[in-house]
């Protein structure tokens, strides 16, 4: 068995370990951007070597750009995205809200919609508004938005039937 050696309260230790409030938001964003680019490269089915060739970069530059410690320029990010046949925008959200879904996360939206039993494929909602990640404790805001649009859709359908 693992020896119990600590005098520190483990609750405090874990609270501290899992709390990133004090981390530099710039560092968090740098690694988050790099992580998203790594996922996008994988999602696109392109190897790092192929991408380097396409961009006419050395493989070492790709590694450097993707290691999360670099302050990437907009130029670098645009070049990378375009080489992968993607575009990007800045999507703002409140600090305590979840971000938009990524191209490799479309299943989460389907899952979410299925969960609330909205299975109509032609539901005329602004899908981007709902492309929010739902955590296990789904945010009240997202649910409200979906309910609002769903009710609007239902009203619209009833009107057109009449």
């Amino acid at each position: 068995m693992n020896e119990i050696m600590s005098m520190q309260d483990p609750e405090d230790f874990f609270d501290d370990l899992f709390n990133f409030s004090e981390e530099d938001p710039v560092d968090i964003k740098k690694t988050s951007i790099a992580s998203n680019f790594c996922a996008l490269i994988h999602h696109s089915g392109v190897s790092r070597a192929e991408l380097a060739e396409k961009l006419d970069w050395k493989l070492s530059r790709i590694s450097k750009v993707l290691n999360g410690s670099q302050n990437l320029t907009i130029k670098t990010m645009v070049e990378l995205a375009v080489a992968l046949d993607y575009d990007f925008d800045i999507h703002f959200h409140k600090i305590n809200e979840h971000r938009s879904l990524q191209p490799w996360e479309d299943n989460l939206l389907t899952h979410f919609l299925n969960e609330i039993e909205v299975k109509m494929i032609d539901i005329p909602m602004d899908i981007h508004r709902f492309k929010n990640i739902h955590s296990d404790s789904k945010s009240y805001q997202v649910q409200t938005l979906i309910n609002e649009d769903f009710n609007r859709f239902k009203t619209k359908s009833l009107l057109s039937e009449a």
């Binding site: 990133f20 996922a39 994988h42 993707l66 305590n96 490799w104 299943n107 990640i133």
Partner: protein, 162 residues
């Protein structure tokens, strides 16, 4: 005593909620404990004995791990080969299982995958100036990995420490 697990997720509302999210797609990261007492967490005991400079690096390493686990893409696409690779192989019931290591600076974080779900179990943390593991470290890792891989996954959820 049966193995217990502490789920690694973000706390610290509201700022750190945008650090990383754990979705249905994500790798779920757990810290291994030898009992329901958090003080028997192996990583906890390894981390509290770290020098102060390594403690902040360790926290950074965990944050990056969380971000890289968010998409649920294979973990090795976020690191280069030197940073994330299998270090040991063990044979369990005729099949080969791998123990993986993430290397960030002098820190070495060892883990195993625990299928069928997308679970990643952190075993031990070492500070090293080279890449060789001591015999004692190897045997400790192999023993832990074997216990985790042969653990009863049907009762896993009940042994997650809140």
């Amino acid at each position: 005593m049966s193995l217990h697990y502490k789920h690694f997720a973000v706390t610290g509302h509201p700022k750190s909620t945008s650090t990383f999210a754990v979705t249905k797609n994500s790798w779920h990261v757990y810290l291994l404990c030898s009992s329901s007492d958090l003080r028997t967490c192996y990583i906890y005991n390894d981390a509290i004995s770290l020098e102060k400079t390594y403690q902040s690096k360790y926290k950074n390493m965990m944050r990056v791990l969380g971000q890289n686990c968010e998409s649920g893409k294979p973990l090795n696409i976020f690191y280069n080969e030197k940073e994330c690779h299998p270090i040991l192989t063990i044979k369990i019931d005729g099949s080969e299982e791998k123990i993986w290591r993430i290397r960030q600076g002098e820190l070495r974080l060892c883990f195993v995958y625990l299928p069928p779900e997308k679970r990643l179990i952190l075993l031990r943390l070492f500070v090293k100036n080279d890449d060789t593991l001591k015999r004692k470290e190897k045997s400790s890792l192999k023993l832990l990995a074997e216990q985790v891989i042969t653990d009863n996954t049907r009762t896993f959820a009940r042994r997650i420490i809140p």
